[in-house]
Each structure stands twice: as C-alpha cells, then as structure tokens.
C-alpha cells in the first residue's frame, strides 16, 4: 500500500465516572473532535466504534444513538483491547479506499457501574469449576518468567508505574493524576504475585474520537498546516489463546512483534530506535510495558527494565514511552484506549500536547495489546512535515 494516506486528528479522550446507562461523555468527545477538525457531524460518511463489553453497547446502533447520527453506516468493532485502534484502522481504510471522504473512529467503554472489582471476566470463557484466570494472573506469569530469565525485580516493574503516574499527574484528562513512589507500588495490595494493585492499570469509563479524511480535503480545514499523516495501521491476531500455545514462552508477545514489523515496513521505518519519537504502548500492567518496549524493537528485550530505570523512557528521554501517563494514569476504558492513544500521538506531533510535550517527534507510535496478546494493533502517525 502506498500513499496518499489519510490523516487523523482531533481525538478527545476522557476518563470519567458516568451514570449507569448510555456512555455520557462520548457525545461530548465526538463534538469536540468535530469542532477541532472543522467538520459538521453530518459530514461524517461512516462511523467505526470500538468497545469490548456487551454492556457498553451493541451494534453500530450504539454509535448512531449516542451521537444522534441516525441512518449513518456505523460499525461496532471488537478485538479485545485493540478495539479502539482497530476501529481507527477500519476508518482509515475506508478513507484511503476513497469510499468515505470523512470517517469517524471512536472508542468507548462503560465498566464502572458493573460492580466488578476488576475487569469483568465473562469474556475469558470461564470453566464452571475452575473459573476464569484473571488478567493480573496471566500477566503475573509473564512477570515471574522475566524475573526468572533476566533477573528483573519488583522494583523494575514499579519504575514503570512511577514513571507513568508522574507523566499522568501533568495530564488534565488523565483519570489518576497522582504521583506514586516505588514503596507505594511495592506496598499496594497483591493482585497476583508479583503484581500489586499499582502494577495494574485502573478500571475506567471513557471515550475518545478521531476524525479522518483525505489530504486534499484536509488542506481546506483548520488543521491544514499541522495535520498528522497516518503512516501505518497494522493488526496481528496471533490466536485467541496465545498462552496455551506450547511454544509461547511468556517473554514477550509474538503478535506485537509481527504487528510492529508490519507497521515499520508500511511506514518505511528502518530504524525504529532512532526514528520513533514517542510511543504510547499498552501498559495494562507494568510488566506489559516492559515487554512491549522490547517487542516493538525499541530496545533489546532483556534491557527493557534498564531502559526504564535509566530514564530513557521518560517524556524527555531517548524514546518517551507513555508520555501521556498511559493506561496507568488514564485507566483502561477498553474500547476507548486505542483512540485515546491516537489523540495523544496526534497532539504530540502537533506540538499541542495537553500534558508533557515531547520535543521534535516526527513519528509517533500507538500500540494496543488485546487479551493475552491475542490481537495487537500498531499504528504509526507522522508529523505534518513527513508527508509526501
């Protein structure tokens, strides 16, 4: 696939506790996106909305009802935690194919009124006697494996939480805007050893939206001088149940490596470590961020703990990882997270970040890891001056 690429901008994330029923912040987020993009809601040719849980909404109907765009083509996308970036990917394809002039990609999730103390587990196919293995349990196994293989410590994991909460404390749209210390992380209640509560991202409600259009149309809109380009939208679905494959070693996720490889190829990036200016990676747990950094090729896998500890992943470091604060600070409204990352990367490349501004980034990467590493989406946006 070659250029011209469509572009994205004006995504609006939010993390808020809404009232039971219809997601309440989503319409506001979409309005803000339309306003920022300079389009009318009626200009939207089609909508893709990512969300995971049936109780958040079903079918494209959830989109047209929430956004009052009755009659529009609307598709509900579900790919575990990659739903948001997959919705974005589908919307980009529609614009790049010339089917739509303007497409809306959004993500939404409403979990907090389900009275579950963590992620509701019914999606994992519970055994009637054994029950489900929780998300912390699955990633705890990756943590014990990495500790055994590379000598990573709980302090190494905690460094990720400290960094991300430090970043998120400065972001007005983050759900959790409080710094944490290593001691607080280590002392937090244990979920699944070695992961404690502060090793895990929070459960949050939220929504985000992005408007995508073609270059020629974008040149007549408010962001004509600073719209980012969509350089790569890639998805790799390894299997529904990666951890059951006998060659899965818990030392990283094959789907991430594949999606990243495909994305770098699509974007023409030959040396990610020098070309990627910032990365929003899926830090559902601290261990996940560490493994992601290696899987995305941003450092050698065993070095990821040192990479964070040395400050190279800080917002002003070599490759800022989660300068927004990540899932740790924003929580993980599952369907919304991918679109929130698009928002963050877009604004970073436009040099109008809400929180900490990363300097001189040409390419920004957004990464979602869905399920146990089942579905991974990697999206790369380029700053306006990286266009053809």
């Amino acid at each position: 696939m070659t250029e011209p690429r469509s572009r994205a901008w004006a995504a609006r994330p939010s993390a808020s506790t809404g009232r039971p029923g219809r997601p309440t912040c989503w319409p506001t987020r979409a309005s803000e996106a339309f306003a920022d993009a300079g389009v009318e809601p009626s200009d939207v040719d089609a909508i893709w909305v990512g969300s995971l849980y049936p109780f958040t909404g079903l079918s494209g109907g959830m989109a047209v009802d929430a956004l009052k765009l009755f009659g529009k083509p609307a598709t509900h996308v579900e790919n575990f935690c990659a739903s948001g970036l997959d919705a974005f990917r589908n919307a980009c394809y529609a614009v790049a194919a010339g089917i739509c002039d303007v497409a809306l990609a959004c993500g939404v999730e409403k979990i907090l009124d389900q009275s579950a103390s963590g992620l509701p587990l019914d999606v994992l196919g519970a055994h009637p006697v054994m029950g489900s293995v929780s998300a912390p349990a699955v990633f705890a196994l990756a943590a014990t494996r990495a500790m055994d293989e590379w000598g990573w410590t709980r302090e190494d994991l905690a460094a990720v939480a400290v960094k991300n909460h430090d970043n998120g404390a400065d972001h007005p749209k983050a759900h959790f805007r409080r710094q944490v210390s290593v001691d607080q992380v280590l002392g937090s209640p244990c979920l699944a050893w070695p992961l404690g509560r502060l090793d895990a991202c929070g459960v949050s409600d939220g929504a985000a939206a992005a408007v995508i259009t073609r270059p020629d149309l974008a040149r007549d809109l408010p962001h004509k001088d600073d719209f980012p380009w969509v350089k790569a939208v890639q998805l790799s679905v390894h299997t529904g149940w990666p951890v059951y494959k006998s060659d899965f070693d818990y030392l990283g996720f094959p789907a991430t490596r594949q999606a990243a490889r495909q994305a770098y190829e699509e974007a023409g990036i030959t040396d990610p470590r020098s070309e990627i200016g910032l990365a929003e990676v899926h830090d559902c747990f601290t261990i996940t961020e560490l493994l992601n950094i290696g899987d995305l090729g941003l450092c050698d896998q065993p070095e990821a703990a040192a990479f964070v500890n040395d400050g190279r992943a800080n917002f002003d470091g070599e490759i800022p990882i989660n300068a927004s604060g990540g899932l740790k600070s924003f929580g993980h409204p599952i369907g919304a997270t991918g679109c929130r990352m698009i928002y963050e990367v877009t604004r970073q490349l436009q040099e109008r970040a809400d929180g900490r501004q990363v300097k001189d980034a040409s390419f920004g990467l957004a990464h979602n890891l869905g399920g146990q590493g089942s579905a991974v989406a990697v999206t790369i946006l380029g700053a306006n001056d990286t266009g053809p």
């Binding site: 055994h127 014990t144 951890v243």
Partner: protein, 76 residues
C-alpha cells in the same frame, strides 16, 4: 500454567507445597482435588503438586504432569 507431557497446556492451582517452592521449571504431577462445595455438592478439578519422589509417575486415572510455569496458589 503447566506444560503437560504429550503436549497441551493447562492453568492449575499448585498445592502441597509452599509458595516459595514454586518456580518456572518446577516438575509437577497432576492430582484430583475437591475445589469447592456447598449445599451438599462438591466440585472437583485437577491441581498440580511437585512431583513426588517416586519415579513411578503412572497413575490410574490422570496423566503425568510436566514442567512448566505454575500459577500462584489461589486463596481459598
């Protein structure tokens, strides 16, 4: 998570040992246990435990376990 001899993987609780005994690569065997019960009914499922010292790992009703990465013991 346990790698079974002959192939396949399964999530199981580890039992009959201390948490510090559990590490990746621990050799385990399957054992059939009561998991929970109530109202006069009991529910059974497998757990695993460190391989007993005996070299005879054949069992009448369950396959032998293999090495793997055991999961944390669940709190009752």
């Amino acid at each position: 998570m346990i790698d079974l001899e002959g192939g396949g993987r399964i999530f199981l609780d580890v039992t009959d040992c201390q948490p510090d005994d559990v590490h990746p690569g621990l050799d385990v065997e399957l054992t059939f246990r009561r998991i929970h019960g109530g109202g006069g009914y009991n529910n059974y499922y497998w757990k695993c435990r460190p391989n007993s010292a005996s070299t005879d790992t054949a069992s009448t009703d369950t396959a032998s376990g293999g090495t793997g990465t055991p999961i944390e013991t669940r709190q009752a």
